[in-house]
């Protein structure tokens, strides 16, 4: 291999410094507020959390549709989760004398999508990388708020 000139090595050294900055940026990027003020709406939950993490090549993409669940778009994702009862909407709960038979917290507890995200072993979703608890709680908040297609 031919050895570069001294000035060129200096420039290569600067590239190395950029690399160090990349690493430092990676470590220091863990900032942010402890309060999660992201909106608990389906448009956000689907697009920001479920599509990038779940609609992958082998899993819940339009082409794979594991467990007949397609999370690749908002409409297909909502149909899949609600239609297959992975999510229990407020509107689907029976009412007795004006009061729902299942509370909002109970709907969250009974929604399989939350249980799968919290599962251990092979049932956990996503199987390759757990979702941060912050994300799971945002999905739970959406369900608690009614799980509407909003």
């Amino acid at each position: 291999m031919t050895v570069g000139t001294t000035p060129s090595r200096w420039r290569a050294g600067r590239v190395a410094v950029v690399l160090v900055l990349v690493g430092v940026a990676g470590v220091t990027a863990g900032c942010g507020n402890s309060t999660d003020d992201r909106p608990p709406t389906w448009s956000f939950v689907s697009t920001a959390i479920l599509q990038p993490n779940c609609a992958t090549a082998n899993c819940h993409s339009a082409i794979a549709q594991r467990a007949s669940v397609d999370l690749s778009t908002r409409s297909s994702g909502y149909s899949s989760l609600v239609g297959r009862h992975f999510v229990i909407t407020r509107a689907s709960v029976a009412v007795d004398g004006g009061a729902p038979l299942v509370t909002d917290d109970q709907r969250v507890e009974r929604s399989q999508v939350i249980n799968l995200m919290h599962a251990q072993g092979n049932l956990r979703m996503p199987p390759d990388m757990p979702l941060p608890e912050t994300d799971i709680q945002l999905v739970a908040s959406w369900i608690r708020a009614g799980a509407e297609n909003d």
């Binding site: 420039r11 990349v22 990676g26 990027a29 863990g30 956990r124 199987p127 990388m129």
Partner: protein, 398 residues
């Protein structure tokens, strides 16, 4: 707009401003290195990705030069030519193939862990048809790798081998010489990022370069000895296309730009940008890549950092960060080990939405055409949850 959303919007603007400043600082710092230097080899004696691959910036079928390098400098020996040199295709076509068999141990916690699976990861056939005046037609046809065989009890669309056929790439290219201008149109990844092999790495997965995300694109560029530029417009595979062509990911249309400088035969620095607009969201992203090869120590540093602004239609936006920082050691010919740290933060405004990954990858090339790969990967989220992956992979290329 509620007070909460208003506060959020202000935070978004602050974060976007900080991110833009950081990106600008990185680009400005990098631009000071924008000088031409003689072209020397990096680790393998080759400096341009397009020397070893038919594609102008690498990936896909390797060229005759690349096959020579595979036998002479990358592996422990052997003949890297097609069919190990037993038969040479006519001059108007180049052929090849990639076949991978992988075993995974995925530790997810709980009594069933670790999950153990062995599966065919890749089976792709390549063809490069040569036409006069620098034109060529490039095709990849293969089988979608399936990690977990479809279980009838859980269903799924992919139920037979024929369902899994896919053409990840098919494009027409005009590239009259190794250096100079080129153009191509068809399906392929527009040039962006480090272009690492492992599709699970965050800097591929979350920048629009994940597995089977290849869009249709129209690109042009110029390749010089010590720099190159690439610009592309792209659009997602239409949903109406047959499964054979279908892609994964956000159905975006947009453009990319990538510029790379090489220094002293031992370093490269690139800046990049990408805009992708879909029905449900839009992403604006930019970043930088760098590589430095220290030949005496047989070490290569490589890194990539991207800032992504995702604007979600009908909702708010979020600013994300993705990075890869790696150190590769090549103690002897045919063996290399890489230690890497990856970072992906879904939303810079929200704590504990970060993902960290620590990787150790060992690649052994005992003979031309053969690679044995071991990968250990620990992922650790900001909230304390984690996952561990071990992979052993056998790779044969034709």
């Amino acid at each position: 707009m509620s007070v909460r959303l208003l506060q959020r919007a202000v935070q978004d603007r602050r974060t976007s401003g900080l991110a833009a400043f950081a990106l600008l600082a990185l680009l400005l710092f990098a631009s000071r290195d924008a000088a031409a230097f003689p072209q020397f080899q990096f680790s393998s004696g080759t400096t341009r990705c397009g020397q070893c691959h038919f594609a102008p910036a690498g990936t896909g079928l390797i060229s005759e030069w690349g096959r020579g390098e595979a036998g002479d400098t990358i592996s422990r020996g052997g003949d890297g030519a097609f069919l190990h040199g037993l038969w040479k295709p006519p001059s108007w076509v180049a052929l090849g193939g990639d076949f991978r068999l992988a075993s995974l141990a995925n530790a997810t916690g709980g009594p069933e862990s670790p999950e153990l699976v062995t599966f065919p990861m890749q089976a792709d056939a390549y063809a490069h048809f040569v036409f006069p005046e620098g034109f060529s037609l490039n095709l990849i046809v293969g089988d979608r790798g399936i990690v977990r065989p479809t279980d009838d009890s859980i269903g799924g669309r992919i139920t037979s081998a024929t369902d899994r056929f896919i053409s990840r790439e098919h494009y027409l290219m005009w590239r009259p010489s190794a250096t100079g201008p080129y153009a191509r149109v068809g399906r392929y990844f527009p040039v962006y990022g480090l272009r690492l092999v492992e599709h699970i790495f965050y800097n591929r997965r979350f920048t629009g370069n994940g597995l089977y995300e290849e869009p249709y694109a129209l690109s042009g560029g110029y390749i010089a000895e010590d720099w190159e530029v690439h610009a592309s417009g792209f659009t997602a595979v239409p949903s109406s296309f047959p499964d054979f062509f279908q892609s994964i990911g956000y159905k975006e249309s947009g453009g990319t730009a990538y510029g790379e400088m090489r220094f002293a035969g031992m370093a490269a620095l690139a800046v990049q940008g990408r805009v992708g607009i879909a029905d449900e969201e839009a992403r604006y992203q930019g970043g930088a890549d760098a590589k430095v090869w220290f030949d005496p120590a047989k070490l290569m540093f490589l890194g990539e950092a991207d800032v992504i602004r995702q604007q979600i239609k009908g909702s708010i936006g979020q600013t994300q960060f993705v990075s890869f920082t790696g150190l590769t050691f090549m103690p002897i010919r045919g063996l290399m080990g890489t230690l890497a740290y990856e970072r992906y933060q879904e939303d810079l405004n929200v704590k504990n939405t970060g993902h960290n990954a620590y990787d150790l990858e060992i690649n052994f090339f005992p003979w031309a055409h053969i690679e044995v790969l071991g990968l250990g990967r620990i992922q650790h989220n900001g909230d304390g949850s984690n996952a561990t992956l071990g992979m052993l992979q056998f790779h044969y290329y034709l």
